[in-house]
């Protein structure tokens, strides 16, 4: 008598039957990592700072992938680390991660992790999406702000003017856009 259980991962098959399989999760994470990368390369010229679609894809990944959104961000950071020019303005490498704007990049990771978790917890409730995106933005900008302030010798006011305030209106619009698009996406 063969013990079937040894060869077949039953938990995984049950997941597949429910429709959201591990394979689908991984493929979507890969796509979101690539989209975050491509989003950094597409920039809309605007004063005072050019808008990139990067955070749009970060927000969208939270809404669609929930808890696995952090995986896509890990992959994105590693891709940048190994030299693919995927960070904003075509940068790459360790120097960007530890540089003045590194806080925002780590913010993507921590932000998607926390807000994905929150969205999973609040599943189905009203304003779950809005609240989790708000949390994500707070973490991304909070980390980015403190990190940038450290680089400017703890000048928090200067960091606020350079790295946070110019981006807020654009990010609010991108978050609304992500909510509108995210509502339309139903993963089969």
């Amino acid at each position: 008598m063969v013990n079937y259980d040894e060869y077949v991962n039953v938990a995984n098959m049950a997941e597949a039957v429910r429709g959201f399989s591990r394979a689908r999760n991984l493929a979507l994470s890969a796509v979101f990592a690539a989209m975050t990368a491509a989003g950094g390369l597409i920039s809309i010229p605007f004063f005072p700072v050019p808008l990139t679609l990067q955070t749009f894809f970060v927000y969208l990944s939270v809404l669609t992938l929930r808890r696995s959104a952090a995986l896509s961000q890990i992959i994105y950071l590693v891709m940048g680390l190994v030299g693919l020019p995927v960070f904003a303005r075509g940068m790459s490498g360790y120097a960007v991660l530890v540089g003045p704007t590194g806080g925002f990049l780590f913010g993507f990771l921590v932000g998607t992790f926390c807000s994905g978790f929150l969205l999973d917890r609040m599943k189905g409730r009203r304003y779950a999406g809005v609240l989790s995106l708000l949390l994500c933005a707070v973490i991304v900008f909070g980390l980015g702000w403190v990190w940038l302030a450290y680089w400017l010798n703890w000048d928090f006011v200067m960091a606020l003017w350079l790295g946070v305030l110019p981006f807020l209106p654009g990010d609010a619009v991108k978050a609304v856009l992500a909510l509108a698009v995210g509502k339309r996406i139903r993963l089969s």
């Binding site: 399989s21 689908r24 690539a34 990368a37 020019p85 490498g93 856009l177 996406i185």
Partner: protein, 252 residues
């Protein structure tokens, strides 16, 4: 995004292609460490030239030069930002120019080293070698999928943008809200086609019984051979040689 071509693998038959990815990884780690350590532009130029013999042997010259050419575009940015930063901090234009040159060469050297690695390493070998250094298979696989998606997606974004422009979409017009709205006709097709691609990949994986067995085994297992020993030897020796230029001769 020409620089991305330098990361897209094409099948090749050279010695370098057949070297174990783990030995090539040693080259990557040692020489990227040198780019961090060196400050002198001439030394950085030496680090950059270390990838030239590999390019010659593996005959990847045309794609490699494309990625270098593509990265030249970003150097202007790096140079200007660095220049402003240094002049702001120290007020010395000479220092700013020298450090700008160093930063630019460092950037090209990094791109060159990594593109040599990715141009000569097939994704399957890379995944297998990542699994063999005990990175979980899921992460290794996702990383490789994402690496392949990046050039595809940025090309697709460009195609969609061109298509919408040819239909009369003016992307660089209007106020902030208008400009963001302009991006919707580009974003929606891009997102939909990316999701479709992900679904196709997931279906392909599942039809090959991905995740069906608890213990995943491999048909091919990578093993280090004489070729790898020679490659690692040359890499380590040239690494030590370059390192001694700073440690012994004292060139900054």
């Amino acid at each position: 995004m020409k620089v991305l071509y330098g990361f897209e693998y094409r099948r090749g038959v050279s010695v370098i292609h057949r070297i174990d990815p783990r030995s090539k990884m040693i080259y990557v780690i040692l020489f990227t460490a040198l780019t961090v350590y060196f400050v002198n532009p001439l030394l950085l130029l030496l680090v950059l030239s270390s990838s030239l013999p590999i390019v010659a042997i593996s005959r990847i010259g045309s794609r490699w030069s494309q990625s270098i050419k593509g990265s030249l575009f970003f150097i202007a940015f790096i140079f200007i930002f660095n220049f402003i930063g240094i002049v702001w901090a120290t007020g010395s234009v000479y220092d700013a120019v020298i450090s700008g040159i160093s930063m630019s060469i460092r950037f090209i050297a990094l791109i060159s080293i990594f593109s040599v690695f990715f141009l000569t390493t097939s994704p399957e070998d890379l995944t297998q070698s990542m699994v063999q250094v005990r990175i979980p298979y899921d992460y290794a696989l996702t990383f490789n999928m994402a690496m392949r998606f990046v050039p595809t997606l940025s090309r697709e974004a460009q195609i969609i943008m061109d298509a919408q422009k040819s239909r009369g979409l003016e992307m660089e017009k209007g106020n902030l809200i208008r400009r963001i709205k302009n991006y919707i006709p580009v974003l929606i097709p891009l997102i939909i086609s990316s999701f479709r691609r992900a679904e196709l990949v997931a279906d392909a994986m599942e039809s090959r019984a991905f995740g069906a067995s608890k213990k995943r085994t491999s048909l091919y297992v990578l093993a280090l051979g004489k070729r790898d020993a020679l490659f690692i030897l040359i890499t380590v020796l040239s690494f030590l040689l370059l390192l001694s230029l700073r440690l012994v001769l004292g060139i900054q």
